[in-house]
């Protein structure tokens, strides 16, 4: 679970540090920078297997170029992204056992390992990576020069630990170097890679569910999803896709596997809550073709989910990802309420709460007042702890994105309500007031 992110000079964000909760919600006006935070994690995720120059535009997000993402287009600035994750007792012990670091670093980190972090700094033609333990930098390296920077200079002889982070990848253990720190480096890198590989991103457009899927065919988005999905599965990265384009594959796989019965039941339950009753998916019997179906809850006829209402179609990939993903996954969803009537919007927090209880981390952007409102009864009843929810309010100012964490009481009250909502509601009141006759 990602516990903290720091961002510098990314799009409208000049400097930002956010502590993430099991359920983190970003609210604020359009263009205030909510999605930018999600994009930074997606950028790191898609940079895991690529050179940085190729990481700007890949399967999760398409960001353009360095010049397009650097704050105010100032290429002299460093774009920095850092994320931290808490480690459990076993992971901490494994990491400490692998402690073959020079004495200086061991001294630096006398405390028990609780949190590890990774950061990247990018400037035109220059990249630096750093590894952190308990929010302290233990090593910072330049990818080009294999040079160690900053405070670690006092602890490490130059060149010692640069293989923690390999030049062309964000985080990668370089096999076979066999220098001091290798075991630690291997453990550290594995933990960070595991964390990032469980980050999933689902965008606002996800209603293009195919009626059937030819395993070797093309989907409506024009991608060869059959081979793409096989490729993803072979890597153990099972994801519905940024537009839900692999949702039918995943559903077919889940429905065809008895061991996944628990996940299937959850998906059926929540799909039903959102108007897709008794969903099924699997082989059509005509070869390499997958086809889903469900029962219309009112008309009692069997239909293809591609014929369901837009709201139901939009949420099906989200349900699939939420209840298929393993504990420890981070699922980022842009505007889960898209196309939904308020009746459905009110159900979203309960579904998220259930996924949170299964150990998943959810980060959403939203404009839905109903979604926020529906958190209160869950928190008040104790179904969701107020500490498990973080609501951040985003505002774009002349200085860039400004973010404020809203306080949530133990009874689920958001103290002071949501600033940008109040602004609009006040305006609405003023307009109404002007319509009254005078006396």
């Amino acid at each position: 679970m990602i516990s903290k992110i720091r961002i510098e000079n990314f799009k409208s964000i000049e400097k930002l540090e956010l502590k993430l909760a099991p359920l983190t919600i970003f609210v604020g006006s359009n263009g205030s920078g909510k999605s930018s935070v999600i994009e930074t994690l997606a950028f790191l995720r898609q940079g895991m297997e690529r050179k940085i120059s190729s990481a700007y535009n890949a399967e999760l997000v398409k960001l353009g170029t360095f010049k397009e993402v650097i704050h105010r287009g100032d290429k002299s600035k460093w774009l920095r992204i850092e994320f931290h994750t808490k480690v459990n007792k076993n992971e901490a012990e494994r990491l400490e056992k692998s402690w073959d670091l020079p004495d200086g670093v061991a001294k630096l980190n006398k405390k028990r390992v609780e949190m590890i972090g990774y950061g990247i700094g990018i400037r035109e033609n220059d990249t630096r990576h750093k590894a952190l333990i308990n929010d302290r930098t233990i090593v910072e390296v330049c990818s080009k020069e294999d040079k160690i920077f900053s405070s670690v200079k006092n602890y490490l002889p130059e060149g010692t630990l640069s293989h923690i982070l390999y030049s062309n990848n964000f985080i990668l253990y370089k096999e076979g170097i066999g220098r001091k720190g290798e075991n630690f480096s291997k453990e550290f890198t594995k933990l960070m890679r595991d964390e990032l590989s469980r980050v999933y991103y689902i965008s606002t457009i996800r209603w293009l569910l195919p009626r059937t899927v030819q395993i070797s065919g093309q989907d409506v988005m024009g991608k060869d999803i059959g081979s793409k999905f096989s490729e993803l599965r072979s890597k153990g990265e099972e994801w519905v896709g940024v537009n839900g384009e692999y949702a039918i594959h995943m559903l077919s796989m889940i429905f065809g596997n008895r061991e996944l019965r628990y996940k299937r039941e959850k998906i059926i339950k929540w799909a039903s809550e959102f108007g897709i009753k008794d969903i099924e998916s699997g082989w059509t019997g005509r070869g390499l073709e997958l086809k889903p179906s469900f029962e219309d809850p009112e008309l009692k006829v069997v239909l293809n989910p591609a014929s369901a209402g837009y709201g139901s179609r939009q949420i099906l990939p989200v349900i699939t990802q939420l209840f298929y993903s393993e504990a420890g996954s981070t699922i980022m969803i842009e505007e889960p309420e898209i196309s939904m009537h308020m009746e459905y919007q009110l159900k979203l927090p309960k579904m998220f709460s259930e996924a949170v209880k299964e150990g998943k981390q959810i980060i959403i952007t939203t404009h839905s007042e109903h979604l926020i409102m529906a958190l209160k009864p869950l928190i008040a009843s104790g179904e969701l702890s107020h500490q498990d929810v973080a609501i951040y309010h985003f505002e774009k100012t002349r200085q860039g994105t400004k973010v404020e964490r809203l306080r949530i009481s133990e009874t689920g009250i958001i103290e002071g309500w949501i600033p940008s909502y109040i602004k609009v509601e006040k305006e609405f009141l003023r307009e109404w007031f002007k319509t009254l006759p005078t006396a």
Binding site: M373, S409, G416, E425, L436, T438, A439
Partner: protein, 160 residues
Amino acid sequence: MIFDRSAIVVFDTSIFVGLIFEKIEEEQGRALEAFEHLKRQGNHKLGVSEEIVEETVGRLWGIGQRGYDYILELMETLRELEEESRVVRPTKDLNNISIRFPIPSEVEHDTHVIKTAIAFKNRNIVCIVHKNPRDFNLVKDKMRRHHGIYVLTSEEYIDP
């Protein structure tokens, strides 16, 4: 009877907030009774100012309630009166209203309610209806003497 003639009734924010809660909770409380009483008096109009409406919704925001539900509830509640043109706003800007006596510190937070009532005074009979006798009793006599405005609890308004 004080209000046999037409009158403008200014509800204190506590009455508005109580009214919305009682409507939502479907409880017949004092605020709702005062409102129903006003509706029955065909010659009474409800006087509101932007400041009172904003404070009403602001109090709900302050305790973490979402705004639109309450704004819509407020508008729904007032709709019948509105259709009869019995919800009115003052022509004067409250910033230009002077109070002819010093306001005790306990009542400072209700200055906008007092100013709203004064803004309506002109040729009208005006009363403030409230649920907070501890504070409003401090200005009751002065309001009557200096501005000719009645200050009544919801009970006094319903049964003068």
